[in-house]
């Protein structure tokens, strides 16, 4: 699953702009992820703060 580190996130919305499945949303100061996320990882690479990470379900 996609994990958002709220303590690193700068709530800029860059991840929302690149999400191919419109699964992310920037709400004031946090990012929401919905079920449409395909775990493609595009957002994790472009996050300027490195706040997004794909983690294996078992690890959560």
């Amino acid at each position: 699953m996609l994990s958002v580190n709220r303590y690193k996130c700068g709530y800029c919305g860059a991840c929302v702009g690149v999400c191919p499945s419109a699964a992310l949303e920037l709400v004031e100061t946090w990012i929401e992820v919905n079920d449409d996320c395909t775990k493609c990882g595009r957002c994790t690479k472009i996050c300027p703060m490195g706040a997004l990470e794909l983690v294996k379900e078992a690890e959560t």
């Binding site: 702009g17 690149v18 709400v27 472009i46 300027p48 703060m49």
Partner: protein, 391 residues
């Protein structure tokens, strides 16, 4: 609630749309999801003085610095200097966006637009298959606003277009991922904007330092998404600042994504118009989005004021807007996209050679386009692919 026009997003593009449409007599509601308009800033704040003056009377309350020119530094440290009014869209004023954005929203309000903050658009309402308004959340309470036309001025994270079936998702090669510090350092030159190029410094992008007056500057970095990895911008910016501003004190930290996709296929759908970063209208070379967004907003406001009273808001009727922006700002966006696509793959040697080729040329007399022309003339072989774009 019912109105003629809903504008989603109260940045410069949204506020200009709302202002123009309200002045022409439309009943306008502008929504802003944040509690405060203009904050947090996600911008280097540089604008062309001449272009801005055509749209709004300059006011010292939102101007941080009036810059004389720009310095561009290549990977090996060689520098070229360009003077005021000639360095293209990014030299002129450095704004205080927190104040600027709110003043533009204030102008829209004075023109009669209703402004609602802490109001987040959640989706489009539909009636007989066509958009008929916006469902929103105002301080956590649901709200429906009926309107025949919706303007998506909702920035890089735009959803309005996607709700209407417009594909606006950016590929990694079509976004600059950015980080910026507001730095205090006595060594900051209050009169010049500086640009640093190099594949180690900023892969597929550049580092900037834009003075904000009183020894303050926005020092930031843009990295092309396709050349970035998780957290690259903040990591490289910290390295750059450590090396170049060792005594600098960081007063603010900002991050953001800048569309550099060039014009997208469509910015309209039945009952929907996109403006500004939401329409991916930011400049692919400089990353500047304020001027293009404001201009597109004014066009959208004008088109809305003309078509809403006639009830002609289908996609076909809205082609007037599509044509207006593509024939004006769209031309330079298209050209600069081509130039960007070429420049992002240059090696540091290429970049050094380009800057050395300007030795003896009076670059102080050139603007960005003029500079590119001289570069093509001086480097016919390297820049062969750019010839058709520039000449």
């Amino acid at each position: 609630m019912k109105c003629d026009l809903v504008v989603v997003g109260a940045g410069p593009a949204g506020s200009m749309t709302a202002k123009v449409a309200a002045e022409a007599g439309l009943d306008v509601v502008m929504l802003e999801k944040r509690q405060e308009i203009g904050d947090p800033v996600r911008c280097a704040e540089g604008v062309s003085k001449a272009a801005l003056k055509k749209m709004v009377e300059p006011d010292p309350v939102w101007i941080s610095a009036d810059v004389k020119g720009a310095r561009i530094r290549g990977p090996d440290g060689t520098e070229i200097v360009m003077s005021e009014d000639r360095a293209g869209a990014e030299v002129g004023y450095v704004l205080e966006r927190k104040v600027f954005d709110r003043v533009l929203a204030q102008r829209a309000a004075e023109a009669g637009a209703k402004v609602m903050v802490k109001t987040r658009a959640l989706g489009l309402l539909h009636e007989r298959g066509v958009p008929s308004g916006i469902s929103a959340q105002f301080i956590g309470e649901s709200l429906k606003i009926e309107a025949p036309l919706i303007i998506g001025a909702d920035g890089v994270e735009s959803k309005v277009g996607r709700w209407a079936g417009i594909e606006t998702a950016l590929k990694p090669k079509d976004i600059e991922t950015c980080a910026q510090f507001l730095i205090q350092d006595d060594k900051i030159d209050d009169e010049y904007c500086e640009f640093y190029l190099g594949n180690d410094i900023a892969p597929g992008g550049y580092v900037w330092s834009f003075p904000k007056g009183h020894s303050l500057a926005n020092v930031g970095i843009g990295v092309l998404g396709s050349k970035a990895n998780s957290g690259t911008p903040i990591k490289l910016l910290r390295e750059f600042v450590k090396k170049n501003f060792p005594e600098g004190k960081v007063l603010e930290m900002m991050v953001g994504g800048v569309p550099v996709s060039g014009p997208i296929e469509t910015t309209t759908a039945d009952g929907v118009i996109l403006v500004g970063d939401a329409a991916r209208q930011s400049d692919p070379i400089t990353g500047g989005g304020i001027i293009n967004g404001m201009r597109a907003g004014m066009m959208a406001g004008e088109v809305a004021a003309d078509l809403v009273p006639k009830g002609e808001v289908d996609k076909e009727s809205l082609q007037v807007y599509e044509k207006m922006w593509r024939e004006t700002i769209g031309k330079s966006i298209t050209r600069n996209f081509g130039v960007k696509e070429f420049f992002v793959d240059l090696t540091d040697d290429d970049l050094n050679n380009l800057i050395h080729s300007l030795d003896g040329v009076n670059v102080a007399e050139l603007d960005l386009r003029g500079l590119l022309k001289v570069l093509v003339r001086q480097n016919p072989k390297l820049l062969l692919k750019l010839r058709h774009l520039i000449v």
